[in-house]
């Protein structure tokens, strides 16, 4: 088997802060092959966006460093590569959809021109303009002809989000890194966009790294799911298996807390507490202070990877026992 398209190999990331370097990702091990799709899920602040931004090293080197392991994209070690190599990777090999579309779009450039720029077509002609409009139509933007001539501030949040998707898809990348690509979209448009991603996978053989907090979205689009918690992968396995038979107590809590229509409406099922911030990670298991099944030993040493089932494991030594009960 050849090298995968994208791999995180024990990747550890540190960021520069006022009080020195701060570890934010810790020993991430993940792979995405050509045409495969992997979903990264986890609570707010768990490190999903930082993982996504590391794929083509969108973080500047004076601000971010890889202290051990590596991220490899199409054979290139992105934290060792120069800016020129990275620019070649961005767009053509890996396209990005950013979590905050308004900040990712150029406020002074028309939407259509931004699509053309992604295609590296700098001298717009009629035919090229039509190509840009086609991409806007494909991501489900009504009246694409008019939208192409508008500026980002004239678009609603959901339209902006779809515009960034068009910009990322237009160069037909081998990998789409999509950070919360449907948060601003209502269910009807969301279904349409997910359909489009599935289609792009089937027709272009495009691989997908999907970052999402919405477990409802994961099903049907991702082959595998990785659950992130406090800078670590705590569970990883085939999507259906992870959702139906989660191993880690954290994943079980995530799956259980999805709000449903018509639920008793006194309180939504919140998992008490929140993800500890980088720099405040507890020793031992990082979830142990919030874990309903924590034992004394959980606070002592960092739990090793527990490959409990075929291609499905978790960072919890008691995963299978608890899941069985």
């Amino acid at each position: 088997m050849g090298a995968p398209l994208l791999s995180f190999e024990g990747f550890t990331l540190e960021l520069a802060t006022a009080s020195g370097w701060l570890r934010v990702l810790d020993g991430i091990d993940l792979r995405v092959g050509e045409g495969e799709s992997l979903a990264l899920v986890g609570e707010s602040g768990s490190g999903k966006t930082l993982c996504a931004q590391s794929v083509t090293r969108l973080l500047p080197l004076h601000h971010a460093r890889c202290t051990s392991g590596a991220v490899r994209l199409s054979g290139v070690d992105v934290f060792k590569a120069g800016e020129r190599d990275l620019r070649r990777l961005r767009g053509a090999v890996a396209g990005h959809v950013f979590q905050e579309p308004a900040a990712a779009l150029n406020p002074a450039m028309r939407i259509g021109d931004q699509v053309l720029e992604a295609l590296r077509l700098h001298r717009p002609s009629e035919a090229r303009h039509a190509e840009a409009v086609r991409w806007l139509a494909r991501v489900g933007i009504p009246a694409p002809e008019d939208r192409a001539r508008q500026f980002p501030h004239e678009l609603s949040g959901g339209l902006q989000q779809r515009a960034t998707l068009a910009i990322a898809l237009a160069p037909r990348p081998r990998l789409l890194v999509a950070d919360e690509p449907t948060t601003a979209l209502d269910v009807t448009v969301q279904a349409q966009v997910l359909e489009l991603l599935a289609q792009a996978r089937a027709e272009l053989g495009m691989a997908i790294l999907l970052v999402t907090h919405n477990l409802g979205v994961v099903e049907g689009i991702a082959d595998r799911v990785a659950v992130l918690y406090a800078g670590q992968v705590v569970e990883h396995g085939p999507t259906a298996d992870v959702l139906a038979r989660p191993l880690h107590p954290y994943t079980r809590a995530l799956v259980a807390s999805v709000p449903r229509l018509g639920q008793a409406t006194d309180r939504l099922g919140a998992l008490p507490g929140s993800v500890p911030a980088p720099g405040a990670w507890p020793t031992g298991c990082r979830f142990q202070p919030r874990c309903p099944q924590a034992r004394a030993s959980c606070g002592e040493a960092s739990p090793p990877w527990n490959a409990a089932r075929l291609a499905h494991g978790a960072r919890c030594p008691f995963a299978t026992e608890e899941a069985a009960t």
């Binding site: 489900g140 009246a143 008019d146 979209l185 269910v187 807390s257 409406t265 939504l268």
Partner: protein, 322 residues
């Protein structure tokens, strides 16, 4: 009773398709003839498709934009197009643009206190700011950092903390929980529900997530292409939707374990630049008749408190499930 907020027949047109001289050749109807009232302590959920005019209506309510036509009243006073109404705060859909990047989180959260001339020591300020941040699930370490050093969902919560610091009587929340995972979402929604109960905080809660809206609001208003299509008590709207569009929205709510219906609303989303004749939903409506294609349905009260704009929504809806 006098409404805390009353929006009366508001319309917002934006210029579009500029000619060579930059003069508009068409007008985009972002909001068209919308009326809405919110009483003190009441939470009204505003739902609808992407681009249907929710944020525009929110900005009009908050006085950040002056509508082309119509009036916004706060406590009976005309405040149309006037921002900074005391007691009214807005939390924006775009969290990155809403926070000043040069300010620390402590400064951002404390700004409403200092602006109101509250005298407090540095220690007091930090303590109160930290307490507020804790309510939205952020720890004390956040105080001295700048907005860029946070995750998207964390920034969204800083925006909420800042708005709550002003102790508003009403909050306009624009997609404030859509960027949050279920657990943090529950934390924030439970916090807002508690403030509604304890302080009588009123809200216009904009979201495309019907499950959250149903949970938090007493009343739901559904918009389609700049217009209201349905309104009623939350429970009723979610359990017995009258308008075919609301029915489709409900049928498409994704849940783990329940396969998503793939194309919940058939047909292409219409353009607000060229709205269809008659009922704006007719090109995608399974019930559309000749009348729907020709005539705009009136906004009518089908039963007490239940409003709908549809020719076909019969008095008896039980025969037609979503």
């Amino acid at each position: 009773m006098k409404a805390l907020l009353a929006v009366e027949d508001v319309r917002m047109l934006y210029p579009a398709r500029p000619d060579a001289w930059g003069r508009p050749r068409a007008w985009l109807h972002a909001v068209d003839g919308v009326s809405l009232r919110v009483d003190a302590g009441e939470v009204v959920g505003l739902v609808g498709e992407s681009g249907c005019g929710k944020s525009t209506l929110g900005r009009i309510v908050a006085g950040l934009e002056k509508p082309t036509r119509g009036v916004v009243r706060w406590d009976g006073l005309d405040v149309t197009g006037r921002a900074g109404t005391p007691g009214l705060q807005m939390v924006f859909q775009d969290s990155s643009g809403a926070l000043d990047p040069r300010w620390t989180v402590a400064q951002i959260v404390a700004e409403p206190w200092l602006a109101r001339g509250r005298r407090m020591s540095r220690a007091e300020l930090r303590q109160e700011a930290a307490a507020l941040l804790a309510e939205v699930g952020l720890d004390e370490g956040a105080l001295d950092r700048f907005p860029h050093a946070f995750s998207g969902g964390q920034r969204q919560r800083i925006g909420i903390a800042r708005a709550l610091a002003a102790r508003p009587r009403m909050l306009v929340c624009d997609e404030v929980v859509s960027a949050l995972d279920v657990s943090v979402q529950a934390l924030v929604v439970n916090l807002l529900a508690r403030l509604r109960g304890e302080r009588g905080l009123a809200m216009v809660f904009i979201s495309h997530d019907l499950a959250v809206v149903e949970h938090l609001s007493q009343r739901i208003v559904v918009m389609y292409l700049g217009r209201l299509v349905e309104e009623g008590p939350s429970r009723d709207v979610c359990s017995r939707p009258l308008h075919p569009y609301t029915q489709a929205l409900l049928a498409a709510v994704p849940e783990p374990g329940r396969p998503r219906s793939r194309a919940p609303v058939q047909g292409e989303a219409p353009s607000p630049l060229a709205p269809p004749t008659g009922c704006p939903f007719h090109p995608r409506c399974p019930l559309a008749s000749a009348r729907c294609r020709a005539e705009m349905p009136a906004w009518r009260e089908s039963s007490p408190g239940r409003w709908v704009a549809c020719h076909e929504a019969a008095a008896d809806v039980s025969q037609r499930g979503p």
